[in-house]
């Protein structure tokens, strides 16, 4: 990621110019990927594709915009859940170790 590169141009390899021969994507043969209509990047889920459109491409049409907003909402909800779980894990870790140190050390 250098400044020369526009923020999030959707290229997963960033400024990786050396390895142009290798395909940066590898879709398992027995699955169908959800491809981005603009750049063709394959995704495993529609939500990833919708978010990718909003994050990495400009000038979305109305449908794409709506899909992006929906995906973004679902993403935010899931993030909130992850945060609660991770906060719980941190608290457990902290008090767990506090307890262990009190007992074992």
């Amino acid at each position: 990621m250098t400044d020369a590169k526009p923020a999030g141009d959707g290229s997963p390899t960033g400024t990786d110019a050396h390895d142009t021969t290798a395909d940066p994507y590898e879709v398992p043969p027995d699955t169908t990927a959800v491809a981005c209509p603009r750049c063709g990047r394959p995704f495993a889920r529609e939500r990833h594709r919708d978010l990718h459109l909003g994050v990495d491409h400009r000038d979305l049409d109305d449908d794409e915009r709506a899909a992006y907003e929906d995906a973004r909402e679902a993403e935010t909800d899931e993030l909130r859940r992850f945060r609660i779980v991770s906060l719980g894990t941190l608290v457990l870790l902290y008090f767990g170790f506090l307890f262990l140190y009190a007992v074992a050390a």
Binding site: P12, T13, D16, E26, V27, V55, A71, L90, L93, L98
Partner: protein
């Protein structure tokens, strides 16, 4: 019990836990004499049970991943990553001075090694290589920026010779540099390289010979850009530094943010080199432990040459490290539910490991750099017949705490870099978080392995 005193007790507990966590991570500072040569650094005595010691270190790294994952603002992450200022390039005079200094250092190293004192303590050769170069210069490479291409006397010597300019074999990639780095550390472990100026001089001359031969065949830039282990090592450390080389000249960035740029890692060979940089520290420490003596004793007893046992351990260990890292990158494909190729994931996450390597290097070498720099200065004033009493700086104890902080900072930086890389790779922020599971597990495992080594009573490698 009144509230005040209870709160104070809790605070005391919390502080002691935090300190213990820091100390644990950081006594890895003492892990392994490191490929630094100044072996026999005293090891911390651990007063907590080993399992708790290891678990705490692993938990600190895991917890820092959870804390980093709480930062979900794309724009903020990108701003931190992208912050920078263009810097003016070094002037011609500065460059000439640097090159002259490098050549002079090499000349003194060789002359003093051949004709100077044969004891390590006042040998200019030993001091230049282990203090001036390995401690101070490498330190400057990741704290400031990598000036080795300008200073490098081996490159300067090679440039004076004509070249056949054979095309460098593409398929070899960085593997010669990996082999060279492993070979250098192998020699450091199995020979008294830090104690014997004559032997060290032979190594420097041998390395000079190989560098010149390689440059004559393939051209200076191809040789030093791909196959030379020392240039590659300093280049890798330099990626951690705030001053980075870009196509438009020098650029100031936040420390470590150069690691989010993986354009220089263009294949599995470069991933292999980064893993080798991390591996050699562990190897150097591991062969000093009792566990290694127990493994090696029956083999050496059965008549296997000790050198072969050491070599096998190095190759097996390196293979294991590389396989584990590649597996952790492959795991990201599953956990993040992405179709990015495993190779892309391995390449993008690899540079984050260098922050950890730099942290360990600083912890190992800061005290050496400070205490022996005056020695180096005095010995340099008269390399062939140094004064009988050479001074050494008495390093205060709190320098050890700086090392501790460096190891911790290296780990935290690595976690942050992986976080920024994941946000660059994936449009879905949950994907970005989940993609780091494998790398985080690898980092936790590495920390625990390092801590296990440091918790063992160490010594010089046996049988060699």
């Amino acid at each position: 019990m009144d509230r005040h005193s209870r709160r104070r007790r809790v605070a005391r507990r919390a502080t002691s836990f935090a300190l213990a966590a820091l100390a644990v991570i950081a006594s890895a500072a003492r892990v392994a004499a490191h490929a630094g040569g100044v072996r026999g650094a005293t090891r911390e005595t651990v007063t907590v049970p080993t399992w708790l010691f290891l678990a705490t270190g692993g938990a600190v790294v895991g917890a820092s991943f959870l804390l980093a994952s709480a930062v979900t603002d794309r724009a903020y992450i990108r701003r931190i990553d992208g912050w920078g200022r263009a810097l003016p390039g070094a002037g011609r005079v500065a460059r000439l001075l640097a090159r002259g200094g490098g050549i002079a250092a090499l000349a003194i190293t060789i002359v003093a090694g051949l004709f100077g004192p044969t004891t390590a303590a006042d040998s200019a050769t030993v001091l230049i290589v282990w203090v001036g170069w390995w401690a101070v210069f490498v330190l400057s490479a990741y704290l400031l920026g990598n000036a080795w291409p300008t200073v490098d006397p081996f490159r300067a010597v090679a440039r004076t010779l004509p070249s056949l300019d054979r095309p460098y074999p593409e398929r070899l990639g960085s593997w010669p540099a990996v082999a060279g780095l492993l070979a250098l550390v192998f020699l450091e472990v199995v020979t008294p390289m830090a104690d014997d100026p004559r032997l060290l001089t032979a190594l420097v001359l041998g390395y000079l010979g190989i560098s010149v031969a390689g440059s004559v065949v393939f051209g200076v830039d191809d040789w030093f850009g791909h196959a030379d282990p020392v240039s590659r090592l300093l280049d890798a450390y330099g990626r951690v530094a705030p001053v980075t080389h870009t196509d438009d000249g020098l650029r100031l960035r936040l420390p470590g943010m150069g690691l989010t740029d993986a354009a220089w890692i263009d294949g599995r060979d470069d991933v292999g080199f980064v893993v080798a940089v991390v591996f050699v520290t562990t190897y150097d420490g591991f062969v000093g432990t009792g566990a290694w003596a127990d493994i090696a004793r029956p083999l050496v007893g059965a008549g296997v040459p000790a050198l072969a046992v050491y070599l096998a351990a190095m190759l097996v260990g390196y293979g294991l490290f590389l396989a584990l890292y590649l597996a952790s990158a492959r795991a990201a494909r599953r956990t993040a539910d992405t179709y990015l190729a495993p190779g892309v994931l391995a390449r993008r996450f690899a540079p984050s490991l260098l922050a950890i390597a730099a942290g360990y290097h600083l912890a190992h070498n800061l005290a050496t750099a400070l205490s022996l720099s005056p020695t180096l200065a005095v010995v340099l004033s008269s390399p062939l017949s140094p004064p009988a009493n050479v001074p050494a700086l008495l390093v205060p104890d709190w320098i050890g705490a700086v090392g501790i902080a460096a190891v911790l900072a290296g780990h935290l930086l690595a976690v942050w870099v992986a976080h920024a890389v994941a946000y660059d790779l994936f449009p879905d922020r949950l994907q970005a978080i989940r993609s780091q599971y494998g790398v985080t597990v690898a980092m936790v495992a590495y920390t625990m392995a390092s801590l296990w080594i440091v918790s063992r009573p160490g010594g010089a490698p046996p049988f060699v």
